[in-house]
Symmetry: C2
Subunit: 568 residues, 2 copies
Amino acid sequence: MALSLRRRLPLLALLLAAGGLRAAERSSGSSSAMEELATEKEAEESHRQDSVSLLTFILLLTLTILTIWLFKHRRVRFLHETGLAMIYGLIVGVILRYGTPSTSGHDKPFSCSQEDRPFTTLLVNVSGKFFEYTLKGEISPGKIHNVEQNDMLRKVTFDPEVFFNILLPPIIFHAGYSLKKRHFFRNLGSILAYAFLGTAVSCFIIGNLMYGVVKLMKLVGQLSDKFYYTDCLLFGAIISATDPVTVLAIFNELHADVDLYALLFGESVLNDAVAIVLSSSIVAYQPTGENTHAFDAAAFFKSVGVFLGIFSGSFMMGAVTGVVTALVTKFTKLHCFPLLETALFFLMSWSTFLLAEACGFTGVVAVLFCGITQAHYTYNNLSVESRSRTKQLFEVLHFLAENFIFSYMGLALFTFQKHIFSPVFIIGAFIAIFLGRAAHIYPLSFLLNLGRRHKISWNFQHMMMFSGLRGAMAFALAIRDTATYSHQMMFSTTLLIVFFTVWIVGGGTTPMLSWLNIRVGDHVPSVEEMSESRWLYFRMARILKEGTEQSRKVLGSSGYGIALTIII
Amino acid sequence: MALSLRRRLPLLALLLAAGGLRAAERSSGSSSAMEELATEKEAEESHRQDSVSLLTFILLLTLTILTIWLFKHRRVRFLHETGLAMIYGLIVGVILRYGTPSTSGHDKPFSCSQEDRPFTTLLVNVSGKFFEYTLKGEISPGKIHNVEQNDMLRKVTFDPEVFFNILLPPIIFHAGYSLKKRHFFRNLGSILAYAFLGTAVSCFIIGNLMYGVVKLMKLVGQLSDKFYYTDCLLFGAIISATDPVTVLAIFNELHADVDLYALLFGESVLNDAVAIVLSSSIVAYQPTGENTHAFDAAAFFKSVGVFLGIFSGSFMMGAVTGVVTALVTKFTKLHCFPLLETALFFLMSWSTFLLAEACGFTGVVAVLFCGITQAHYTYNNLSVESRSRTKQLFEVLHFLAENFIFSYMGLALFTFQKHIFSPVFIIGAFIAIFLGRAAHIYPLSFLLNLGRRHKISWNFQHMMMFSGLRGAMAFALAIRDTATYSHQMMFSTTLLIVFFTVWIVGGGTTPMLSWLNIRVGDHVPSVEEMSESRWLYFRMARILKEGTEQSRKVLGSSGYGIALTIII
């Protein structure tokens, strides 16, 4: 049951590439016309469908943007943009599922036996001409004739690695890059405790509870295939990645308590990294021998070793590239050319991801720490223009990626073809995540309060308990492997948990804040913000000085006088 | 000899996806461990190599950026960044070619005969397990055993469609979006004449001259395979796409004559579109019957029809989405949320590409006209922040894409495995492009001067003649199909022409300008720039006002007074 996490990376490929990327047929050379024409027509048709399916997503995002605007315009707070994206995704999913005809594709299965293991490339001799085929993956024998009957449904199904290698990195990088340093570092100890200890505790509690649920299901005959203890632990790791994007958006808007914000934000950013590494370590936990999936001390410690190795390696990678970028920007006068600076920044940040993947670490985690280092060191060396450029660039990328993932989630509820909804498992999962979160927030907060000067008050703890939303990361981890029965059930359950928490918890944030008496509106500018505004002021003044001269030229001195009186 | 242009689109897939995107093996379900482990190790290895090859490109770009900075810093003008990117690409290409061991990949050919035509998907039964394969393309029988022996070389070879669908759109969109409207529209007639008539004339003259060269080669026995008249015409279309990016960069820097700038820029932007559509029309020119590749009036007119159809369709698509975006941004108050506005702008512009591809038009051409429309209408509805955001976003994308293409070109000279360098053909091509450009610039300028108030002077004509560089577009068109002997020869020749023109012509621009006595440094602010600066002034004043209040808070009134005296 090897998950092969981090391995199947069609590298940074597939930017929103629909379907399995069937490189369409290319028939070249001298050959008879009719056959070729048919193949080409087919390829063209397939290409058109690709375009249409991508257009569907773009339409979805466009609709989401316009509705978000309406909501922001009218100050609606009960539904966040991510929740909205999911709703639109759901609607389109229903249309695609029930509205499009079930075409049985033109990809007729063709069997030919090989004796050896599968090669990555296959050369097939078709009446004298040779065609090259690349391996896409294994198909379970029962599914050969009934998978993916609907062309459109297949087109809107992405390779799971797209999420991990294209969509998550900008989201995670942006999280690291936009971290509010002061409050983050002031609460660093607590954040690390919540992220590391908390996520581990939550993972194990959820995993064990779910193992109980699975046992129960087996007892009452609700389980139709294998579901191992390691699967339960993996589910615990997947679902422990919190993503309180909705809550934080509202916090930001209402200027809620900065320390609470820092705790929640820091925890969620770091626990994504912990959850990724944790899940790959659980996958690496493969006891030897045929009697697997039971506890094995050696394998357990190997997993712990893997966890520590991957985590520290990824951390190092990210930090090192961040520091290198900082040094380069410091010792060259690159800031005279903001375009070059921004491009360099982008490339260096991206290279972190590749470097980590090339070394066998986790790119997403490396990118997170790279983001933090870039914000901490490089940001201060950048020109003012590059600062806003890089911020804005990653903001846009983050925005698009996030809304894409959420609308895809809505879509996936109807277009994913291998859902397994088990009521017992789902109810059990909801209870488990509730208990898991409680068992990590309250005891940890108690322990932390023993050492903290600014105690984490009860209402803060309740708010943190409440803010345990699941989002993009849980989804990306769950969709990574949906090959077996247990993983399919986990994926379907994760999807429902994300829907529920984003809609219900997201919508309940504002009432919850007032119910818990958490102060809002106390925005005290931080030191950075102050120096930023001072910087801005000096810069503005310089621009204004230049602008004044030019305006005088343009408007003439009398017009300039009039303009001046209008403004001041 | 169907080229199947515009058809094989692994849609917007493969953002810098190395190699043929062999979706690595995924072995799932319950199966014996050893075999699976081997497959996974292989997949992991392949993934690592993907990362390394992408890292190579990023390193290349980073190096280019740092060197560009040095050059700009020292005001070196004889080598433009694109030329530099090519040089670095060449160096890395040499290293990869001669420095890496020639590993014969693990993709052993496996033959199994099919009776029917090739399917897009293949299911292969390997000792009871089923694997899915996707069609990659046809391979000529002679090449089965000797193609792509070197893994690293294969990894750095991209699917040609990557250039067309990922890298060209941002470049072309940026060209349209950054068009300086006033001078462009003032010279619109001349630009259209140069772009449409000029490119057509150039294409036919080059095509016919090259047909003569090919005849000559056949006579002296230098030609070892077929080379049709249509191939020659296609070469004419490919090589007629000029790309004076180097020249324009220098013009911009030296503030050379704005009309000349507008003429050159407008011509090069539009003639890219003409060249794309022309080449697809030539491909569509397929006379019926076995005695093909001769002149056939019906097929000719069909091609002309195709040209007009594709061109006007793409134009409409681009213009319509541009106008729709303009209307949306006008009638919503989206400009209060620059992030949403920017995201919407990006998505709408991208949807043009997809829409055009979905309708069977040319996405790149549609994107160009979308860019022009967006600049003309939408730009004015955007908030000030979004204006700079969108400009900067596309500027960065354009910069990265362009330098990537140019460094890839350098690389391709050594890593592309099917080069055919024919000295006669190459010399012929250089003469043909010289004559082709002369035959289009001078007579057209003469005709245009009959109607123009501001005549195009002789030195302007010489400068335009001189600025006929070939760049990214010619390369992308040439690499699109390298399946046959004639196309391989055309590709190699195009590569050399690009190298020569970018280095020699690019380096000679500054001397040429002074030799032709073309005025430099006469920067008169345009109306837009003036209104922009006025806008900026008002906005700055507002920000300053707010900034003043905040600064007073931060600095205290005495500190504020000191700051003020420092500035003013």
